[in-house]
C-alpha cells in the first residue's frame, strides 16, 4: 500500500489539529475559562481522521458528546468551534450549543449529541434520504462502546440493514463508558460480533492505526455507495483522558494510562510509519505542526475577544419561518 504525499499531509493535518485543539481545550477548561463540561478525543484521532478522509462535504456524519474530533476530521473550521465552546456569538451555533452540541450542516456534520445513542437513528434517516434521492451520499454514525447498549443501536442497525441503507456504524471502542469498563456491562467480546444478528458485514480494526481505519472505511463506504447496505466497523482504541476534563479517574491508575499512551499513540504511530517508509520528511511534519499550533492559538485569541450572544438571541431559532405560513 502506498499513498500520495498530499493525502498524507492532509491526514496528518487532521490528526494534529485534533490533538492540538483538544490539548488547548483541556488547558482552557482547567484554567476556568470554559463554561459547561468537555470530553476530549485525545488518543482517538486516527479513527475520525481515517474515516472522514473517505468522505466528501456531501456525506453525513453524526457525532457524540466526545465530538470535537469528528467535527475537525469532517472539515469544520476550528475558529467557530472554539468560539462555540467559549459560548460566544461567533460560534457555530451562536453560543447556544456548546461543546456537546457543535454542528456544521454545510459540511454534513449533523451534530454532536448530549444524549448517548442519540445519533444512530438520525444517521439512518440521512442515509434513507440519500437513498431516496439517489445521490450516492453515505452517512457515518460514530458511537462509543457504552452507547452500543442503547436500544437505538438495535433499531437503527436493523432498519438500515433491512433497507440496505448507505450508512456506516462506527464503534469507537475505547474500553470505557465514563467510569465503567466495557466488559462489565457487555458480555460480547467485540461489538462487531453483533453484526451477524443483523445480516450485515463487520470489521474490527486497530483504531490507533489511521491506515487500518482508512482502508476498512474505504471498503465499507464504497459498498454503501454502490447500494450494498450498512457495515458495522469496530475501531479498538483506549480512552487516554478522563471521561471529561476534571474527572478524578478513581477507577484506574495514571500509570496504566500513561503506559498505554506511550506505547500506542495514534499520532506517534503515524509519524513513525511515514518516516520509516520515507513517505514524508520530518521537517514537513514539524512545519505542519507549528502551523497548526499557531492556528489553534489564533482561534483562542479570537474566541476570547469575540462577544457573547445578545440577549434577544434567546428567542431566535426556536422555529423557522415556514413558507406555508408566510403565504397564508
Amino acid at each position: 500500500m502506498s499513498y500520495q504525499a498530499d493525502f498524507l499531509r492532509a491526514l496528518y493535518r487532521k490528526m494534529v489539529t485534533i490533538r492540538k485543539f483538544e490539548e488547548k481545550i483541556g488547558e482552557l477548561f482547567l484554567g476556568g475559562e470554559l463554561p459547561g463540561f468537555v470530553h476530549l478525543y485525545i488518543g482517538e484521532e486516527a479513527i475520525a481522521s481515517g474515516i472522514c478522509s473517505n468522505l466528501t462535504d456531501e456525506d453525513y456524519i453524526t457525532s457524540t458528546h466526545r465530538g470535537h474530533g469528528h467535527c475537525i476530521a469532517k472539515g469544520a473550521n476550528i475558529k467557530p468551534m472554539m468560539a462555540e465552546i467559549f459560548g460566544k456569538k461567533t460560534g457555530y451555533c451562536k453560543g447556544k450549543g456548546g461543546s456537546m452540541h457543535i454542528a456544521d450542516f454545510s459540511i454534513g456534520m449533523l451534530g454532536a449529541n448530549g444524549v448517548v445513542g442519540g445519533g444512530y437513528t438520525l444517521a439512518v434517516g440521512a442515509a434513507l434520504a440519500a437513498k431516496m434521492k439517489k445521490t450516492r451520499q453515505v452517512a457515518v454514525c460514530f458511537f462509543g462502546d457504552g452507547a452500543s447498549n442503547r436500544g437505538t443501536f438495535h433499531e437503527a442497525i436493523n432498519m438500515a440493514a433491512a433497507w440496505k441503507l448507505p450508512v456506516i456504524f462506527l464503534c469507537e471502542n475505547n474500553q470505557w463508558a465514563s467510569t465503567t469498563p466495557y466488559r462489565t456491562t457487555t458480555a460480547v467480546e467485540n461489538i462487531a460480533d453483533r453484526a451477524v444478528g443483523y445480516g450485515i458485514p463487520s470489521n474490527i480494526v486497530n483504531g490507533n492505526d489511521v491506515f487500518a481505519v482508512y482502508e476498512a472505511a474505504k471498503v465499507a463506504i464504497e459498498r454503501a455507495r454502490e447500494g450494498g447496505g450498512p457495515t458495522l466497523i469496530e475501531a479498538k482504541t483506549y480512552r487516554i483522558k478522563g471521561h471529561f476534563v476534571g474527572d478524578p479517574e478513581m477507577y484506574r491508575t495514571k500509570a496504566e494510562v500513561q503506559e498505554r499512551f506511550e506505547k500506542d499513540d495514534p499520532l506517534k504511530n503515524f509519524v513513525s510509519d511515514v518516516l520509516a517508509k520515507g513517505w514524508l520528511k520530518k521537517a514537513e511534519l514539524d512545519q505542519i505542526e507549528t502551523k497548526i499550533t499557531e492556528e489553534v492559538d489564533a482561534a483562542v485569541d479570537s474566541a476570547r475577544k469575540d462577544p457573547y450572544p445578545d440577549d434577544n438571541e434567546l428567542y431566535s431559532d426556536l422555529y423557522v419561518e415556514s413558507e406555508v405560513n408566510l403565504r397564508a
Binding site: 463554561p35 459547561g36 463540561f37 459560548g87 460566544k88 451555533c93 451562536k94 453560543g95 447556544k96 450549543g97 456548546g98 456537546m100 452540541h101 449529541n113 448530549g114 444524549v115 448517548v116 445513542g117 457504552g146 452507547a147 447498549n149 442503547r150 436500544g151 463508558a177 465514563s178 467510569t179 465503567t180 462489565t184 456491562t185 457487555t186 478513581m250 477507577y251 457573547y308 450572544p309 440577549d311 438571541e313 434567546l314 428567542y315 426556536l318
Partner: protein
C-alpha cells in the same frame, strides 16, 4: 441541629432503607464504581455489595423496565436516571408501563418503584442536560412526583418514596446536592402529597419547590423589608398536588404567585392557577402571577443561560405588581 449536605441526606435515606428492607436495591449508570456524579451513592456498594448497588449498561429503557419488572416480582427498586433529561429514553416504560400497570390490571399488583432524576440548570450544561421536566409527569395518572427543596426534605421524602407502594418520581435539583442544611437525627419520613408552609404570611402566597424555594424565601425576606408579608409554600409533592394547603393559604392572603425553574408554559404553575381559578376565583384580589423559564430550550452560553433563570428580584417585582 447537625448539618449535612443534600447529597449526604439522600445517601442516609438510601442507607437506612436498604438496611431496613433487603428488598430495596438501586441501579443506574456509574453509581457503584463512581458513587454517582454528585456523590449521592458514595459508600453504598461497600455497605451493601454490588448485588444491591448495581452499575448498569447505558440502557435507560432496560434500567427502568427492569425496575418495573423487579417491583412486580416483589422487590423495591430505586433506579437512577443519571440526568432527568434521559427520561426521554424510557418514556414508554414510565408512561405506558409503570404508571398504568396497577390500574389496567385491576389492582392485582403494587408498583413500589422509585425513579431518581437529577434535574435543573447547572453551569452551562446546555439543552440536553439542564431540563426541569416534572410537569410532564403531573399529566400522567398513576404516578406520584416528589421534589425536595432542602436537606431534611431530601431525606424524608426519599424514605417515604421508597416505602410507598406506588411508582414515585423523585426529582433532585443538581445545584442542591452540595448544599448544607439541618437534618434531624434518626428515622423520619415526610408524607407524600403534603405541602409545607415554609414561612407564614398574610399578604400574598408564594408557591414554589426545589431550588426555586431558595429564591422564593430570599424574595420573602426582601418583601418583609417593604412591609409585605409573604406566605411561602414548598409544594414538596407535584402529584398529587396538595390543594388543601394551597386553598387555605390563598383564602387567607387572596394573592398568589407561583415560581418554578421549569418552562412556564404548561408548567406546574399552570395547573395550580387553573385549580385556584376554578375553585377560588372569588377569593382573589388580584390576578395570579406565574414565574417560569421562557419558552426555549436551555441555551449554553452563560450570557443566555442567565436569562432563563428566575431570581429573587423577579419574584419581588411580581409580588409588588399584585400587591399595589
Amino acid at each position: 441541629m447537625r448539618e449535612i449536605t443534600f447529597s449526604e441526606a439522600t445517601l442516609e435515606a438510601m442507607s437506612e432503607e436498604m438496611q431496613r428492607d433487603e428488598k430495596v436495591f438501586v441501579m443506574g449508570e456509574d453509581i457503584a464504581r463512581q458513587g454517582g456524579i454528585f456523590g449521592q451513592f458514595k459508600g453504598l456498594p461497600q455497605k451493601f455489595g454490588v448485588e444491591r448497588v448495581i452499575d448498569t449498561p447505558i440502557s435507560e429503557t432496560a434500567i427502568v423496565g427492569a425496575g418495573i419488572g423487579a417491583a412486580l416480582a416483589g422487590m423495591r427498586p430505586v433506579v437512577d436516571m443519571h440526568f432527568a433529561d434521559f427520561v426521554g429514553v424510557c418514556m414508554d416504560e414510565v408512561l405506558n408501563q409503570m404508571a398504568k400497570i396497577c390500574y389496567m390490571f385491576g389492582g392485582q399488583c403494587t408498583m413500589p418503584l422509585v425513579m431518581r432524576a437529577p434535574d435543573g440548570i447547572i453551569r452551562s450544561a446546555a439543552a440536553q442536560h439542564s431540563q426541569s421536566l416534572e410537569a410532564f409527569f403531573l399529566h400522567i395518572p398513576g404516578l406520584k412526583v416528589v421534589i425536595p427543596s432542602n436537606t431534611a426534605d431530601a431525606k424524608g421524602l426519599l424514605k417515604a418514596a421508597i416505602r410507598e407502594d406506588n411508582p414515585v418520581l423523585y426529582f433532585e435539583h443538581k445545584a442542591l446536592f452540595p448544599l448544607k442544611g439541618p437534618v434531624p437525627e434518626g428515622e423520619f419520613c415526610i408524607p407524600i402529597g403534603k405541602a409545607n408552609i415554609a414561612k407564614e404570611g398574610k399578604d400574598v402566597t408564594i408557591i414554589s419547590y426545589s431550588l426555586m424555594m431558595h429564591r422564593a424565601l430570599e424574595a420573602a425576606d426582601k418583601l418583609a423589608g417593604q412591609g409585605i408579608s409573604a406566605e411561602v409554600i414548598d409544594l414538596r409533592t407535584i402529584s398529587p398536588i396538595d390543594k388543601e394547603t394551597i386553598f387555605s393559604s390563598v383564602a387567607k392572603t387572596k394573592r398568589l404567585v407561583i415560581v418554578h425553574e421549569a418552562v412556564k408554559t404548561g408548567g406546574v404553575g399552570a395547573e395550580i392557577s387553573a385549580l385556584v381559578a376554578e375553585e377560588m376565583i372569588d377569593y382573589l384580589d388580584a390576578p395570579i402571577k406565574r414565574l417560569g423559564a421562557p419558552f426555549v430550550p436551555i441555551p449554553f452560553s452563560p450570557s443566555l443561560e442567565r436569562l432563563v433563570k428566575i431570581n429573587a428580584d423577579q419574584i419581588v417585582s411580581a409580588v409588588e405588581e399584585i400587591c399595589k
